[in-house]
């Protein structure tokens, strides 16, 4: 897998950026690279990088998170320490960007430095099972809006096709055509495919550059949503 010094994950909100950023940072650290992850999400009030603080700390990944993340302060402030990610060139950096163009405005602060250093991967996280990016054309529209707001061009696509706990390998494989078309429309390569670890097991050898992800159990997961993902009727 092609790895740059700085990796940014951006895309439509709810496309899975935070889960991917956390798992990719853990993956980099496992490769022996000194890694830091920054939560630059100025949009989302809940479910943030900070929720994985313990796992990241245990693995030795440094977490840079806004002072007010997960609190009652509805203040979209960027953490000052995030500057180190662009300044300390001995670090491998992962940046978790907020959803859509509104989230990408945060990028403007760092874009000039990243462009100058020119050692970054700006990955567009795509999930065709999200209603406002059901077609490659809609995804391309979001892509262009993010680039315009963030001042940084995308360099690659991440296939994160999923339906949460209902995801099967077939769901991921069925997205291949969508990703190929998005790749053709944007001129960008498909860089990697991400999937929850049980799904990833079933995908072994069937897709290239696969990143298995460990997803956090949530306190509100229902009895039928626990354990390996499988299609089950929902509550109610």
């Amino acid at each position: 897998m092609d790895i740059k010094r700085v990796t940014l994950f951006a895309g439509h909100y709810g496309s899975g950026k935070t889960n991917i950023a956390v798992n990719f940072a853990l993956y980099l650290q496992k490769l022996g690279k000194r890694t830091a992850i920054a939560d630059l999400d100025i949009v989302n009030p809940y479910f943030r990088t900070k929720d994985s603080a313990r796992e990241l700390a245990q693995a030795g990944v440094e977490l840079i998170s806004p002072q007010f993340a997960n609190s009652n302060v509805d203040l979209p402030a960027l953490p000052a320490e995030a500057y180190r990610l662009v300044e300390d060139k001995t670090l491998y950096a992962v940046m978790d960007i907020g959803g859509d163009d509104r989230g990408a405005y945060a990028l403007g602060r760092y874009a000039p430095f990243l462009r100058e250093e020119n050692d970054f991967q700006m990955a567009f996280v795509a999930n065709p099972y999200r209603p406002l990016t059901r077609t490659p054309e809609e995804a391309l529209e979001v892509m262009r809006e993010i680039e315009a707001a963030g001042g940084l061009p995308f360099t690659a696509i991440v296939n994160n096709a999923n339906l949460a706990h209902e995801t099967t390998a077939e769901h991921v494989l069925a997205a291949a055509g969508y990703m190929a078309e998005l790749s053709r429309l944007s001129g960008l390569p498909l860089w990697m495919t991400t999937a929850e670890e049980h799904v990833a097991k079933a995908l072994q050898g069937r897709v290239e550059n696969l990143l298995p992800m460990t997803l956090q159990a949530k306190y509100f997961d229902l009895p039928e949503q626990k354990g390996p993902p499988r299609a089950r009727p929902l509550f109610g």
Binding site: F47, Y129, L163, P223
Partner: protein, 353 residues
């Protein structure tokens, strides 16, 4: 299988509203419900609908009033402090007997409170919210799928009874993501002969108003309205029963609290405690009959809430205080853990409070 999509609770409300025929959205952004407005802003222009960000919640609810008076399927959405600002408009809509659909994705309070999830607008929603004698139909989704299905239902019920239907969700249900489908969107059509659609010089003009000059006429209106409410109470109460067949402890919880409670009930059963769950799906009308029948069978009730026990009184009223009702709660944006609920179930099973 029907087409599945992965959605946030807030998005599911917006998409379900559009599929229910809603083409008029008026609102003002507030965390944690902003995705409803964001989704509408993106979709409405593409389907010839109206998305309008008003200058305040007071303006939005009065725009809703206007569109409702014209017979449109119309909605607004907000979170706790914003709903308080809408109080006057909600009362005017209720006093005019026009249908409207309102969403409250609750956050911690009182006052400005916080942005984390809460259920502490229970009194406000189930008792009306604004001034005067009135009710709203209050629907409490516990999953993203239900955010969609209860939105469809809410629009239908609002039109059926010509009154406000409110989704009372919480920040977590609004923000969380689950796969859902929209297979069962059925729009019920009800005549709106009172609507301000233009007379075309063919009929007398309609008047939509909540002002009455004669007190006896206003009194009559109130009595009539409560006849309608009686019909709603009789026909529209909804709940889900879980493991209640042989239950001795009945946990009562709605929305996000019911999901935690459901896990705690499973854990209690594993310990040999006969616990069950009644989940009110409508908070007004409250599922009194189900609770009253449960009181014939169980030894005690446990209300699990993200509020200071606001639902306890409804359980006591529904059961005529025949069984003790204890409370397990967290507030201010905190959520009870399954272990905390389990500990409360153990106590309730032993007859402790």
């Amino acid at each position: 299988m029907a087409e599945r999509v992965l959605m946030k609770g807030n998005e599911a409300i917006a998409e379900a509203a559009i599929r229910s025929g809603c083409r008029h959205y008026f609102g003002y952004p507030i965390t944690p419900q902003t995705e409803v407005a964001a989704y509408m802003a993106k979709r409405m222009p593409k389907i010839d609908g109206v998305f309008l960000q008003a200058e305040s919640e007071i303006a939005s609810i009065n725009m809703v009033y206007g569109a409702a008076a014209a017979g449109m399927r119309v909605m607004t959405s907000s979170s706790s402090p914003g709903i308080s600002l809408m109080g006057e408009g909600l009362s005017y809509i209720a006093g005019s007997d026009v249908p409207a659909f309102v969403v409250n994705v609750q956050r911690g309070g009182p006052g400005l409170g916080g942005i984390q999830p809460s259920q502490s607008d229970y009194f406000q929603a189930t008792r009306g919210g604004g001034h005067g004698d009135y009710h709203m139909i209050v629907l409490a989704p516990a999953s993203v799928q239900e955010m969609a299905s209860l939105t469809v239902k809410g629009f239908n019920l609002a039109d059926k009874y010509s009154m406000i239907a409110m989704i009372l969700a919480d920040g977590t249900i609004g923000q969380m993501m689950e796969p859902i489908s929209f297979e069962d969107v059925e729009i019920e059509h009800y005549d709106k002969p009172w609507a301000l659609t233009g007379t075309q010089c063919q009929r007398r003009h309609n008047i939509v108003n909540s002002l009455y000059l004669q007190p006896d006429v206003l009194e009559k209106k109130n009595f009539e309205r409560y006849e309608k409410y009686r019909a709603v109470e009789e026909n529209e109460a909804l709940h889900e029963s879980y493991m209640m067949d042989d239950a001795e402890v009945c946990v009562v919880a709605f929305g996000i609290a019911s999901r935690v409670a459901k896990n705690a009930v499973v854990a209690a059963r594993a310990e040999g405690i006969k616990a069950g769950l009644i989940r009110p799906i409508t908070l007004w009308p409250f599922p009194k009959k189900a609770l009253s029948e449960a009181a014939d069978q169980v030894k005690s009730f446990l209300s699990v809430e993200l509020s200071m026990g606001q639902m306890v009184e409804d359980i006591q009223l529904a059961t005529g205080c025949r069984r003790p009702v204890s409370l397990c709660n967290r507030v201010g944006g905190m959520i009870p853990s399954p272990d905390q609920v389990l500990a409360s179930i153990r106590k309730a099973a032993k007859g402790e409070n």
